[in-house]
């Protein structure tokens, strides 16, 4: 691997040697993460000690595309220890830009993995062996079209100051008038001071997104980058849009005074924890209140079957609880809530939460559901309109609890208040029913005795 050893052992000697003035940088290669500087008139610009790091970071500017476009064929390196053949595993594809020393493929010989780096900056022209194909020492592997431009990939581990490599493409034509250190401040580019015509500006273009704004320049970056939407997201998007198009969605709001529930929680949480080994949260109050209200107003628990134009009334109440996980939104279901008490609900929520965390949710945990509760309050939401989760007819949105002054018995008091929102399908549920439903939830949360007394 002549090119490799040349690179590694002589890189520094080459970099430290004096530059000939007016030399074409043909054959001058840069180290990974370091771009070449044209600074023959400024010998001090060669060496810079950066940030107390004890290695020489040599900064250059790549200035010319005078390098001829050579196409070189890279051959399989000789194998160690009398091994004769290996399998090629490609890391890069045809058309990829590679930097000098960047790994293009790996050759697997009898349990050993050998990396084959690129001997120069360039673009991969052709792969001469299929992936998994067998090669021997000396077999041609791929052809590389050498280019003068350094690939845009930044190597943050080796680039000392973040500003410096990004500042370079802009200043590439102009050697900095001041001496080292270059990277700290972007000098203003004096346009008349163009270099002589024999050294045109390099064709370095940032092809990768560079979201970091260069300090001292005062302007933001203007690039964008595109990412293909994955299928899951496309599916979810499609589904949400379908929901919006079929349902006549409306939202009604109300507010809940959380002081009673908070007081109940404070009073009983230790006993609850002791008996059930579970934390008493607010979800159980809302889930139970919703179940109660759904029993009183069965139409909210029903759904329109568009195919048969029927209204399907369900005798069971399965409440889906929206949970945000790193993988995205999952909606596990609590089955037959009408038969549960607060403890049962908390237990189920905790089990489902554990499963979600460990990525063990099964399909049957997540399908079905007749009503959804979504809690935006955990993220600090004040107010908002949730979107219905088909095939259901309504969704309750809980928001954050904030202290607010409210009128109580003719006086102003500060109470912990939560806004709640109910989005419903108006094709099925009328305004009066929706408002009554939400008020029932409010009543049951504000005073759980309502549940006992069946009021």
């Amino acid at each position: 691997m002549l090119s490799r050893s040349r690179c590694v052992s002589r890189a520094f000697s080459r970099s430290l040697s004096a530059f000939q003035k007016g030399n074409c940088p043909l054959g001058r290669r840069s180290l990974p993460g370091v771009s070449l500087c044209q600074g023959p008139e400024y010998p001090d610009s060669r060496k810079i000690v950066i940030n107390n790091s004890s290695f020489f970071g040599v900064r250059f500017f790549r200035t010319t595309s005078v390098c001829k476009d050579d196409v070189i064929t890279v051959k399989t390196p000789a194998f160690a220890e009398s091994v004769t053949e290996g399998d090629v595993r490609w890391e890069k594809a045809v058309g990829d830009s590679v930097a000098e020393d960047e790994v293009v493929c790996e050759i697997e010989t009898d349990k050993t993995s050998v990396q084959v780096p690129s001997p120069a900056h360039g673009v991969i022209e052709a792969l001469l062996v299929p992936d998994g194909g067998k090669v021997e020492g000396g077999t041609p592997l791929f052809t590389l079209r050498k280019t003068g431009a350094a690939p845009a990939k930044a190597k943050p581990a080796e680039a000392p100051a973040a500003a410096a490599p990004k500042a370079e493409p802009v200043v590439s034509a102009v050697p900095p008038p001041s001496a080292a250190p270059i990277p700290t401040q972007m000098p203003p580019v004096p346009s008349p001071a163009q270099p002589p015509a024999s050294k045109p500006v390099s064709a370095v273009k940032p092809t990768a997104a560079r979201p970091v704004a260069e300090p001292g320049v005062g302007k933001g970056v203007r690039s964008e980058h595109r990412e293909k939407m994955n299928r899951m997201r496309q599916r979810i998007a499609q589904r949400l849009k379908e929901a919006q198009n079929t349902c006549a969605m409306l939202t009604t709001f109300n507010e809940v005074d959380m002081s009673n529930i908070q007081e109940m929680r404070a009073r009983h949480k230790d006993a609850f924890l002791k008996k059930h080994n579970l934390k008493l949260g607010f979800m159980s109050a809302f889930v139970k209140a919703s179940a109660f209200a759904l029993q009183e107003q069965p139409v909210v628990n029903a759904v329109i079957d568009d195919a048969s134009k029927e209204v399907v009334y369900r005798d069971y109440i399965d409440i889906s609880v929206a949970v945000a996980t790193p993988r995205g939104l999952v909606v596990p279901v609590i089955r037959n809530v009408e038969a549960m008490n607060y403890a049962d609900i908390e237990r189920t929520i905790s089990e489902l939460g554990e499963k979600a965390r460990k990525n063990e949710l099964a399909i049957e945990d997540m399908d079905g559901g007749t009503f959804t509760i979504s809690n935006g309050g955990v993220f600090g939401s004040l107010f908002g309109t949730p979107i219905i989760n088909p095939p259901q007819s309504a969704i309750l949105g809980m928001h954050g609890i904030f202290d607010r002054p409210v009128a109580v018995g003719g006086k102003v008091e500060v109470r912990p208040m939560m806004y709640v929102a109910l989005t419903y399908d108006h094709r099925l549920i009328d305004g009066r029913e929706a408002v009554t439903f939400l008020r029932k939830i409010k009543a049951a949360v504000e005073d759980p005795r309502v549940l006992l007394l069946d009021l």
Partner: protein
């Protein structure tokens, strides 16, 4: 146990690969023996990567000793679906890791010692390392019949494999690592390394199964601790260096700057599963339809761990063609992974029309498909 200050210094000096080679020609002959205090396979593999990438090994060979909690480690270019029983691993909490060196699949647990020999590329010599291990074993137990084979395995009594080898050669450094079976759970090993997945066609590197045996079964004095000290002592004697074993913490960023991000990279799905070479799955499973049994054929092309082509052939009378096509198209580009499939299916099922029969069938189909992932 804290690293003595001298070691930290030593490390930082040796890390300085960027200094021109000339500065290191006069270095005193050094060598280090390191032992990891962690049993996390990803952290230990990250130490290997770190030493390989950052240390100057000129005149300074390093021996790294490590053990892992139950994990299956596949080679760089292998296919985990072909090599091991992923369902069993998920159930039993056995980790899956992909190392950066080539070779076949191995099972690690605390009864297995891993030894990594770091040298410069020029000094890379696997046979020398294996001979060193044999020498160490014979020092502890002179009667032990251990031989190194041409394939760089170690055989006990001429037939039982007690060590397998893999290595990686970089630009200037190389490492050779091998296992040493002291007291591994053999039955568990066999069940884990036996893949139940049918119909996989790929050109990934395959493992060659071998008959294994634990050294402890042969001689009860050969415990992990005894063997680790023996190999370390032999290494120190051979390279004429200080035989002190330095304990290192793979999570220590001051000793190994940047190592935690290396460990994180090794745990990403894109590395562990996504780096599998292209493969196809051609299999079938049965579903019950009333009294009869229907055969459903599945053909899936997977690249980078993601489904490229999905063709699930279902008899028309059981599931309408358009429903089937919808299912096939939605799997494209998603990971060949049961968790992802679960999420996808639950979203799909919610878009399904209110046909209970159809719903049930789709559900069953998805569960079966998850079983082959």
């Amino acid at each position: 146990m804290l690293i003595p200050f001298s070691l930290k210094n030593c490390f930082q000096l040796l890390c300085n690969r960027k200094v021109p080679a000339a500065g290191f020609k006069d270095t005193v002959k050094n060598g280090l023996i390191l032992q990891s205090i962690s049993n996390d396979v990803y952290q230990n593999l990250a130490v290997e990567d770190w030493i390989h990438d950052h240390m100057n090994l000129e005149g300074n060979p390093i021996l790294f000793l490590w053990r892992n909690s139950p994990s299956v480690v596949i080679g760089r270019h292998q296919n985990p679906w072909q090599e091991c029983n992923l369902n069993l691993m998920r159930k039993e909490g056995v980790k899956l890791a992909r190392r950066r060196s080539g070779g076949g699949t191995v099972y690690h647990d605390m009864g297995n010692i891993n030894l990594t020999f770091f040298t410069t590329k020029s000094k890379y010599d696997r046979m020398e390392n294996l001979k060193l291990i044999v020498q160490a074993l014979n020092t502890v137990q002179p009667q032990l019949d251990v031989q190194a084979t041409k394939r760089f395995d170690l055989l006990l009594d001429g037939q039982f494999k007690i060590s397998g080898t893999a290595s990686k050669i970089g630009r200037t450094t190389a490492y050779h690592h091998c296992t040493l079976l002291c007291n591994t759970d053999g039955a568990f090993l066999s069940s884990l390394l036996n893949s139940p997945y049918q119909g996989i066609k790929s050109n990934a590197t395959t493992s060659i199964p071998s008959l294994v045996k634990n050294l402890l079964e042969k001689d009860s004095t050969l415990t992990c601790e005894v063997l680790m000290s023996a190999v370390a002592a032999e290494y120190a004697a051979y390279h004429r260096i200080d035989g002190h074993i330095h304990l290192v913490d793979p999570e220590d960023e001051t000793l190994f700057p940047g190592i935690n991000s290396k460990a994180k990279d090794l745990q990403t799905w894109e590395w562990v599963y996504g780096k599998t070479p292209k493969f196809t799955v051609n299999t079938s499973f049965n579903v019950l339809d009333g009294q009869s049994c229907l055969e459903i054929k599945v053909h899936i092309d997977i690249k980078n761990g993601r489904i490229q082509i999905c063709n699930i052939e279902v008899p028309e009378h059981w599931l309408p063609l358009e429903v089937c096509e919808k299912l096939n198209s939605c799997f494209i580009d998603s990971k060949f992974c049961p968790v992802e499939t679960t999420m996808l299916t639950s979203i799909l099922l919610r878009t399904c029309p209110q046909d209970h029969e159809l719903y049930k069938k789709w559900y069953i189909l998805c569960e079966k498909i998850k079983g082959i992932m």
